[in-house]
Symmetry: C2
């Protein structure tokens, strides 16, 4: 049975890495002693080693050890034998390129479908959707495809930002960008605000945190959904 935590952000303003999620993660990874971390997205260009070390420090607080996927000669086997999985944020184009390049996109989807507990934050959450096409990231590298894990029956927009009505900036708002996506795509999109996460258990997709999330569907006016509601209906 699928078991996912899909977080908008790893870190809240003024907080430490993963801190706000640690009570949730303690339960989520209760059966795991070791977490396999996928550091491919490399936020700000941090090295795989340094990124994994940051994650190690955070998980030490709930007594879990951490290994980085880059430490293994055979990443496919590493994923197949992982007790629990975490893909961190950074650049989604880079992450997806690396997952395809190392031929682990399919195996990752398969072990998660089969029940290996998964945590994603930011870019690591983006890839849980059907495609990466509603990422906020810059296309710093050309991936072989925009298709991602498809663990959710919709796409995510993490770090969702409401339009700032005071702004004098003329760049597109997040909502306009998602509207442009829906000119060419029927996939629903969930705008997940910072501090929100999804708790996926089998077919249930429950919105967690204190904030509502914004639902975008092709040819429909966006709506808000409140915490504790199930988002599975978006796939129907």
């Amino acid at each position: 049975m699928k078991k996912l935590i899909i977080a908008s952000t790893s870190t809240l303003h003024g907080g430490k890495y993963l801190d706000y999620l640690l009570p949730v993660l303690e339960q989520h990874f209760a059966a795991c002693e070791e977490i396999l971390f996928i550091p491919y997205a490399r936020p700000g260009g941090i090295s795989h080693d340094d990124y994994t070390e940051n994650v190690r420090l955070a998980f030490a607080k709930i007594n879990k050890s951490v290994k980085g996927l880059h430490e293994f000669d055979n990443p496919i086997e590493a994923i197949q034998s992982a007790q629990g999985l975490f893909t961190g944020g950074g650049n989604t184009f880079l992450l997806v390129s690396q997952l395809y390049g190392n031929k682990v996109m399919d195996v990752l989807a398969k072990v998660i479908e089969n029940g290996t507990p998964y945590l994603g934050s930011s870019a690591g959450s983006n890839i849980a959707g059907l495609t990466m096409q509603t990422t906020n990231d810059m296309p710093i590298i050309y991936p072989p495809s925009f298709k991602t894990l498809g663990l959710l029956p919709f796409n995510l927009n993490p770090h969702y930002l409401d339009a700032d009505l005071q702004s004098k900036h003329m760049g597109e708002t997040r909502e306009t960008r998602i509207k442009e996506f829906h000119n060419f795509n029927t996939i629903p999109v969930l705008g997940l605000r910072e501090g929100s996460w999804l708790e996926v258990t089998g077919e249930k997709i429950i919105l967690k945190g204190n904030l509502s999330a914004r639902i975008f569907r092709q040819n429909e006016t966006p709506t808000e959904i409140e915490p504790e509601n199930d988002l599975a209906f978006l796939g129907k």
Copy 2:
């Protein structure tokens, strides 16, 4: 001789479409009675016809007529015989996909290199760089390549935004995103603020408007360049 106006934005806050640029465009397109408009980027999903109509209204103020590239059966011939060219903003992934799909990327570069006056704004400016990899847009469609016109010896980040030091948002700043680009790419990037444009005449690339622009180079601290300076050195 190349003759380009490369604008960060088509519209300033509180202003009308292209208004702040009209005196510049009157000179730039002095020899043209008709402008060929490339509406492919479709901001907010506007139709090609409606987008072209908006552009027609703006250019009417300086007594230029406008045709949309989508009105022609043979877009290659239309570009080859254009007196002046304008590519409007919207989604860069869509624009680049359409330029490749209609097989006009190369011919567009060629006529502009040979002297057809060109105006780009936002996405239409992005494509003047070497690649579209420093766009701010969402990957709503998968283009066959990120390579663009290469009329400038660097990449552009239009609508460049300085980090808001008061913000509690944890998404990456524009500067962080460009830094991530430079982990994998050596191409210099110019952050062009709204209200700024480049005036390209042959090999000269002069920064115009009242604001400085921000220069990003691999492994270097970003620097600012003031208006009226030549950016050609970035290609050397």
